[in-house]
């Protein structure tokens, strides 16, 4: 299995290598738009990869994953507003807050399954969305500008676009590596087993609830990291970061790229954001095209891009 030639890996390697060269392109042309777009793609890819850990491998369809983008972002933003701009404080706190929220939501929603799970994760994220709207001190509905990105002493300057770009790329690679390790570990086997037949996993003695909860918390924490990066990238936080459509976008990325593959969501994020960028250039009403595309993907291209690449080989 491992030695097999997989077109997906080649494509992802080419894409990542191409991305790594982008700062060079930006420096040569002086046009940093592509690099900025790719930073965004990388950050959202990280969120989609983390969602795929629970959805693709664990069978837990969370329609509320954008919550952690929001939590990561809001912790950074709120701390910055209160005068705490050290990344050494902001980042761990953001991850801890994401983990805590994931623990709370996970422990409740994992008591149920299937469609309940989808609705509950959606509802809790909507709750957070309204809470963010209610936070008048932190911009309420309009959101709030972050005037200073996270500071890491002399170690790293996030205001430097190239440095920030490489940081995001490196963190994406680290995240995918981590998830690859998780999925192929004993823990990951239990999670995947619970996906295909939970009753059997329980019958042979695995407390699947606990395993799934830990998995849910890991995914939430990783997505929280993506939220931290997103806030630092846009220098802005607003409730729309955790709007339900954002959660939907993350699901689309994971499915588009190919569920249950570690790197698929990276391709999915790339495809979706590039598609959005292209379509919004064509017409103001681009969502009227992209909506039916989602439906068509569901109906005819269930394996996503990864599945298509697999077909090319076959």
């Amino acid at each position: 299995m491992k030695a097999q030639f997989r077109p997906r890996d080649v494509v992802v390697a080419v894409v990542l290598a191409g991305m790594a060269l982008l700062p060079l392109h930006a420096a040569l042309t002086g046009n940093s738009f592509l690099m900025s777009l790719c930073t965004r793609i990388i950050i959202l890819a990280m969120a989609a990869v983390s969602l795929n850990l629970i959805m693709g491998f664990g069978g837990m369809v969370s329609f509320g994953h954008a919550a952690y983008l929001g939590i990561g972002g809001y912790v950074v933003g709120i701390l910055a507003k209160e005068g705490v701009d050290s990344g050494f404080l902001q980042w761990p706190l953001a991850l801890a807050a994401s983990a805590l929220f994931a623990l709370a939501v996970g422990s409740l929603s994992l008591r149920t399954r299937g469609v309940y799970f989808i609705m509950i994760t959606l509802a809790f994220t909507q709750m957070l969305y309204y809470v963010a709207i209610g936070l008048d001190r932190y911009g309420g509905d309009d959101g709030m500008t972050i005037y200073r990105r996270s500071q890491f002493g002399g170690l790293l300057d996030l205001s430097n676009r190239t440095a920030f770009f490489y940081l995001c790329l490196a963190l994406l690679l680290l995240t995918t590596c981590l998830i690859w390790r998780i999925v192929n570990s004993r823990f990951g086997m239990v999670i995947r087993g619970a996906r295909s037949n939970e009753r059997r996993m329980r019958a042979i003695g695995f407390p699947t609830y606990r395993y799934k909860l830990v998995c849910f918390v890991i995914a939430g924490t990783l997505c929280g990291l993506a939220g931290v990066l997103l806030a630092n990238h846009t220098d802005f936080i607003n409730p729309a970061m955790m709007h339900w459509t954002r959660s939907g976008d993350l699901i689309v990325m994971a499915v588009l790229g190919g569920m249950g593959t570690v790197l698929g969501p990276v391709l999915g994020a790339l495809a979706l954001l590039v598609l959005e960028e292209v379509l919004s250039g064509v017409t103001e009403y681009w969502q009227i095209i992209i909506g039916p595309i989602f439906l068509l993907v569901v109906l005819f291209a269930r394996g996503g891009i990864d599945g298509l690449l697999g077909r090319i080989r076959a």
């Binding site: 469609v115 709750m127 209610g134 699901i251 499915v255 009227i288």
Partner: protein, 305 residues
């Protein structure tokens, strides 16, 4: 106290609207096993149709009737073109496909009606207030909403429990294959049920239109609250949806009205007015969490009936 009664009535009124949406969702889910996120789009479309037709004909009632028929047509078209292909797929497919439909409908509405919202003016005889209790005046139109929704709920109950179609619907909910094997045209039944759900959603949107502005995205926010109703009431149970809708409507409305004042008794004025709105919007979700702890399958789940 008078204010409290008024808020309670508002809560019941919101609850009735939530019930219309939740009933359609739970019917569609119970019978076709379909998660329909685009249900909120039908609610929005019902409101837009009502506002348009009422403006065209100059009559609120004629506009309402035409809007219901038009929403029914849209609902059936959506079922035949898209939903039919999603039956039997897993829930993730439903979520994705109907998510695409929401984007499509929101943009379509923006294309046709423009980005600005619309208003649906009430006929002048509806603008009065009625003395419901000595000293308590309540807008007539909101009473009309409560009453008409109650009638619809009753009709729905009679349809599901007392007619042949309703019998098929209930049979379809408990065992689809068996109903199909007995020679019932299950395809037609599914289309009918989806159309029924669409009409209920359109009716809710239409009734709500004069109170709120008709705008893009109006369906999604209330849809998520309708999900909360279904989770609390138990999926597949119309009775559960009814009870839960009223509970959620009451808690949400009364919470928003009184929680900030209540907080002022414990907190400083400043802290209370900033925490109040955030906390009161959390109330229904906290209720949902509490129900999940005690009864994960909801108050009236269809399986434990």
């Amino acid at each position: 106290m008078l204010y409290f009664i008024e808020q309670c009535l508002n809560g019941v009124q919101l609850g009735m609207l939530l019930f219309l949406l939740a009933a359609g969702l739970t019917l569609i889910f119970g019978i076709m096993d379909l998660v329909n996120l685009a249900h909120g789009s039908l609610y929005m479309i019902g409101a837009y149709f009502a506002a348009t037709f009422a403006a065209l004909t100059g009559s609120f009632v004629a506009g309402a009737v035409m809007a219901l028929l038009a929403t029914l047509v849209v609902g059936i078209a959506v079922e035949v073109i898209a939903m039919r292909r999603l039956y039997g797929r897993d829930h993730l497919d439903h979520v994705l496909g109907t998510f695409g439909l929401i984007l499509f409908f929101n943009e379509l509405v923006r294309l046709i009606w423009g980005p600005a919202g619309m208003t649906l003016p009430l006929p002048s005889q509806m603008l009065t207030a009625v003395e419901v209790l000595p000293g308590v005046y309540y807008p007539l139109y909101r009473l009309v909403i409560i009453l008409s929704t109650l009638i619809v709920a009753l009709l729905l109950y009679l349809l599901v429990m007392r007619t042949r179609i309703g019998m098929l619907i209930r049979a379809g909910a408990s065992n689809r294959e068996m109903v199909a094997a007995l020679g019932i045209n299950i395809k037609l039944l599914f289309t009918l049920v989806f159309g029924l759900g669409a009409v209920l959603a359109g009716f809710a949107g239409m009734m709500q239109a004069p109170i709120l502005t008709v705008q893009i995205g109006m369906g999604e926010n209330i849809l998520i609250v309708a999900f909360v109703v279904i989770i609390i009431g138990g999926i597949g149970s119309i009775r559960g949806a009814f009870v839960a809708a009223i509970i959620v409507g009451l808690i949400d409305t009364v919470g928003r009205a009184f929680l900030p004042d209540l907080l002022r008794m414990f907190l400083s004025n400043n802290a209370a007015s900033s925490a109040g709105p955030a906390l009161s919007s959390m109330l229904i979700y906290m209720l949902m969490a509490a129900i999940l702890v005690v009864r994960p399958e909801g108050l009236f789940s269809a399986s434990s009936r």
